[in-house]
Subunit: 322 residues, 2 copies
């Protein structure tokens, strides 16, 4: 049976995987990404890793799906990164075809995560899902009737940039009060640091978890302190999940999908986030306009996008077979 290669290029880590033609995952490898190395470093690693995967495959590798952690022009297959040098509308799929002699398709990581969960994870058997990645930033991918929703300008599914608040801070996109500024990992960490500086007597546990430096309070330390029952951390999550609930209810009102699947580091914290989120959803909702959209955590954990890249590779193989 032939195989496909899956690649997930992220700002912190990158992952490669080998999948059988029937979708079975045979191998996954994760490595840290060199930010300063930029594109050149990453492409060298891809050459090495793909050679190793091909040697391991023992059968022909027919296609390569790539999840890229940055804006992707899907129609033209161009990858851009604002964090890592050398990725400026780079024709990544073409490069793979030319240099690795593999058919290739590139997708941004939020869409790839949606595809991965839809095919292999919490979205199996659904018609329509929204996958949300709650991480440093907030991204999302929408799948309706089994197809990625792209929109007129390829700008559909910009959940992180829902305009929720008039009084919020300015977002990296230049607008004020985007959802991302209110409930991303970055936002949770920022509120944690502000609160610890303002009310230090209540921030003892948060400070301990951050090596005694308020400036080092991270989303992870807030989530851990809240899981232990720390009042200040619990209050911070109460506030951030209120905004998240408003965003999710907005998605439900517009799309009413089968499931909303929460992925990314913040979501993987699980019930410490889901419990207040669910209470806010209950409070914000209507007693009349019911819905059965389920809100669940991603089943594939950190590998949603890698599995999505595999699904993209597998779909290319099937297209070829027809």
């Amino acid at each position: 049976m032939s195989s496909v290669i899956a690649i997930d290029i992220g700002g912190t880590n990158f992952r490669v995987g080998l999948f059988s033609g029937d979708g079975t995952c045979r191998f996954i490898r994760e490595e840290p990404t060199s930010q300063e190395g930029g594109r050149e470093w990453m492409l060298e690693r891809l050459v090495e890793q793909c050679a190793a995967l091909r040697a391991r495959a023992g059968s022909p590798v027919t296609a390569c799906g790539i999840s890229f952690g940055g804006p992707v022009n899907h129609a033209r297959q161009l990858a851009t990164s604002v964090h890592s040098p050398g990725w400026n509308a780079f024709p990544l799929a073409q490069w793979v075809r030319d240099n690795l002699q593999l058919r290739c398709e590139v997708e941004n990581d939020a869409n790839a995560g949606a595809i991965g969960e839809f095919r292999f994870g919490a979205g199996r058997g659904c018609q329509s899902i929204v996958y949300i990645t709650l991480s440093t930033g907030v991204g999302s991918g929408v799948i309706l009737d089994g197809k990625v929703l792209r929109g007129k300008d390829g700008m559909a599914g910009e959940f992180g940039h829902l305009p929720l608040s008039d009084s919020g801070i300015i977002c990296s996109c230049g607008a004020r009060g985007c959802l991302e500024t209110l409930c991303s990992g970055t936002a949770i960490a920022r509120v944690g640091r502000e609160r610890a500086c303002r009310v230090p007597e209540k921030a003892k546990r948060l400070m301990e978890l951050s090596g005694g430096e308020a400036g080092k309070i991270s989303a992870k330390s807030v989530l851990q302190a809240a899981a232990e029952g720390d009042p200040m951390a619990t209050e911070i999550l109460q506030e951030t999940t209120q905004w998240l609930a408003r965003g999710l209810l907005t998605l439900i009102r517009i799309l009413n999908p089968d499931k909303i699947i929460l992925g990314g580091g913040v979501a993987l914290a699980g019930s410490v986030l889901l419990r207040p989120l669910s209470a806010h959803l209950q409070r914000l909702g209507s007693p009349i306009i019911g819905y059965s959209t389920q809100i669940v955590v991603a089943e594939l954990g950190v590998n949603s996008a890698l599995y999505g890249a595999a699904a993209i590779g597998l779909a290319m193989t099937q297209d070829e077979g027809q």
Copy 2:
């Protein structure tokens, strides 16, 4: 050539139309709806009107599409009204088949409006549109890739119930701060009356247009006063269009459709609404996340839903022909 009958049952007026098989509108008739007459009255009128249309047609009438101004369970073809007696999960399409010997399909008025504008109006040639009706309430219909988006529970496209504000009033749906409570015709009229009572010295023109009674200030009088340049009315529209802009930008962030088409009595006021709306959209948007979604007024005016009913009837005829 065969013909189809189109029916638009609204709370204030109802309309019937006769359309040729090629989509040409041959005849439209509008009458006031008797609210106290309820279902019985309406069904009697339908029998009479359909007989008259058939006599007029001069060729076989093959199908009937109906737009209904209330919740429709599309899968089961049941119509419900909270305003008019006798409509409680009523099997309207079945009734038409049994009593008028016509194939029939029923759609709620927001979806029918979307279908009408998509096929015959401002959405011609588009892949995806959102049609919004700004009237007593606020409804919407979403068409993606030519298909009405229904959602898991038939609850997609509930634009009027986007949860925009924590401090707004309670909506008819029981939730607080829904878009409908902030920018429907009812909301514009309510703010007009409140403002006129609070600052009567600035409400002279609004009072004149309402026969001297603050309690009779309507959305129509606010829109007219604003069109004349009245400062208080202009301020009211500034506020309501700010909420509407937030809702529209939310739709664009999630769906990025080709067009958003504004229909209903409030939207038909035109530039007095569109000008401040467009300024708010500009202010709320991002300099980085561009979009080319156009925001336009419905081309079919009060007849969007009737044309949608015709399109539904025509589609049934084509299905039969295949």
